[in-house]
Amino acid sequence: MKLPAKRSVKAIPAILVLLVVGLGTTDGGWVRQTKRGDRLSRRPARILRVERPALRRGPRYAADRVLVRFKPAVADAYAEGLLRSYGFSSVRKIPRIGVYSVRTSPGASVAETLAMLRRNADIEQARPDYRARLADTPNDTFFIQYQYNLRNRGIVLDISDDIQPQTTAGADIKATPAWDAAKGDPEVVIAILDSGVDRTHPDLAAKVISPGRDFANDDEDATDDHWHGTHVAGVAAADSNNAEGIAGVAWNCKILPVKVAGADGTGFYSWIIDGIIWAADQGADVINLSLGGDFDDPFLEDACKYAFDRGVVVVASAGNDYGGPVLYPAAYDSYVLAVAATDYNDEPADFSSSGPQVDVAAPGVYILGPAPQWYVGEAYLPYLFASGTSQAAPHVSGMAALIKSLKPELKTADVMRIIRYTADDVNASVDRGRDDHIGYGRINMEKALVPYILK
């Protein structure tokens, strides 16, 4: 392929190095296709969409109501009379469970009312009337059974006859409680700089905002001719709660495909440089780079700085070479979040590169994501399991997109700090504090997005 003159010039100093794109073909990366109708369960589709009301703002419980249960020996008439003697303006019984809902006296706080009621020996329990929210668990087909990375309930990950690892409950990024606070703004765009994105995939079709840009073939069509970019895009922001396939981290955020790697899964630094600058100029809020090269290059760093200076959060995979150094551009510490991988037990993945530039980690082992139908074949569902820091990075990109959705005024550096400082130090028993394997720890979306309660 002949490069245009302008791009050729840029490519020379950018070192004509074939990138080690984390395609699952590298040392630690694995790909597992999913046979159609075989392992993946087929749950009945539902068409319920969760319309979420406002965030958790305002009180956590009713300011003028409490719930009371009397001891079993207390007669109903006595109980009601007693409650009315406190001056409660409204007393309503929920007969099946013997609980009274009472409206507090004007001016009495819930805490005062509860303290008063709890002093009465006839009362078994007095509790606030807590506010509930719609449960933001997506109805995507494979969410419960396979997406341990988003919510891990300690399942057996039934991938194939010979791969059925037992996972550890809680070894996840706490996506479900975080979705209560934010599912993402459709105006927030994640640019996927990769092998392209399959825009026809049912879990991505509604999420891709444009055909994108193909710097590998120098055209305006960033269709995936590999599979990697489609998978990465889906992990970050697959169409969620659509009763189909998987849930993405950023439910409502959009995807901008930018093709910077060819069908062979490699790309030149110049393509990546062009891709980063183009995505930043297009107004992307987050750039995901599930790729990396071995060589430091000032032009690549300049491109990352260009995006950073324009308010773009740049996220890159650390690399799939255990014991090896962090790849570039992930190693550009000032401008890029370097993401290592953990597994379904919150252990550092045995393929993840390490170094002082590693910021955080995210699940990167047996991650289910979309894949082009032509790639997996007609006999298979268009999804596959893949492992690598390539799969870890889009979790962080999705999280960054949710933070930017909720707080668009935050500076890029602050978004990066939030992601770092809210991480769980899951290897604290062997390496307390920030370390070179998983940085500050495995990301925790709940800590970043759900209010911390001041006691």
């Binding site: 406002a54 958790r56 305002g58 004007p106 400082y421 209010p451 911390y452 006691k455």
Partner: protein, 258 residues
């Protein structure tokens, strides 16, 4: 042992000094015809919607203050007070901080200053109508909470202020020298702010919550009871209705006449 707030003690001292100064003032030589001093307890709740919030939350305040009443004759009375406040902010959320915070802590202490003016408008038989206006301002003390469970050390620091102005007519029935009941209707204007700062290592943010001016109306019943030649108890209780409920206010004071 926790360190006591120097500001609080200074204010209490100021209140005591105010009362003592008033007590020793040469009343006869001035225009002050009557002088009373004592302690007052006030409590009120207000259901408000803070700017940026989608739902209401309740602000509750309890005040203990030293109070001095100056009577200038012809039904004109000025009351000055200074003391401490405890203000509770149930469920207040700070959603734009880098790490969002929700307030579920105990009430915040503050210093409170107040002034009340009462003027006789009309007297008809055993009834009299007065105009009463009151202004109270609470200056909250700073409070710090550690932020735990994060990868770096962090803390949140909050401070809150509020002020309430109320005015309206008071209809009193001059039942006897010992007891004068009254009915009071007030318009009440409340302004409150709560500034929260958050620091996690080099991640810093602040958010200021505001109630720019919440207007409500209250109805209260009260009475001034003369317990002896020198001692008077002033008490009042009322409701501040709003759509779907009512807030309350209550006040009781014990005053000594000089």
């Amino acid at each position: 042992m926790r360190k006591r707030s120097g500001g609080a003690w200074r204010l209490i001292s100021l209140g005591i000094a105010l009362v003592l100064a008033a007590a020793h003032a040469p009343a006869a030589e001035s225009k002050v015809k009557m002088l009373m001093a004592g302690l007052n307890f006030d409590h009120f709740s207000r259901t408000v919607v803070w700017d940026g919030d989608t739902g209401p939350s309740r602000l509750q305040a309890s005040l203990v203050s030293a109070r001095t009443d100056f009577g200038f004759g012809k039904g004109l009375t000025l009351s000055l007070s200074a003391g401490l406040s405890l203000t509770d902010f149930e469920g207040l959320a700070f959603g734009t901080l880098p790490i969002p915070l929700a307030y579920d802590a105990s009430p915040i202490k503050g210093l409170v200053l107040g002034a009340e003016l009462e003027a006789l408008l009309l007297k008809y038989g055993d009834f009299e109508i007065k105009a009463a206006g009151r202004f109270v301002s609470s200056f909250g003390m700073s409070r710090t909470w550690p932020l735990e469970g994060f990868a770096v050390v962090g803390e949140a620091k909050g401070r809150s202020n509020w002020m309430e102005a109320s005015a309206g007519p008071r209809l009193a029935y001059l039942l006897s020298d010992a007891f004068v009941p009254y009915l009071e209707v007030n318009a009440r204007w409340l302004r409150a702010d709560f500034r929260m700062e958050e620091t996690l290592e080099d991640l810093q943010g602040h958010e200021k919550k505001l109630v720019k001016g919440d207007l409500s109306f209250s109805v209260a019943l009260g009475g001034d009871t003369r317990v002896s030649d020198r001692l008077t108890i002033k008490a009042k209780a009322g409701l501040v209705p709003y759509a779907g409920g009512a807030d309350v206010l209550a006040s009781v004071g014990l005053l000594y006449m000089f």
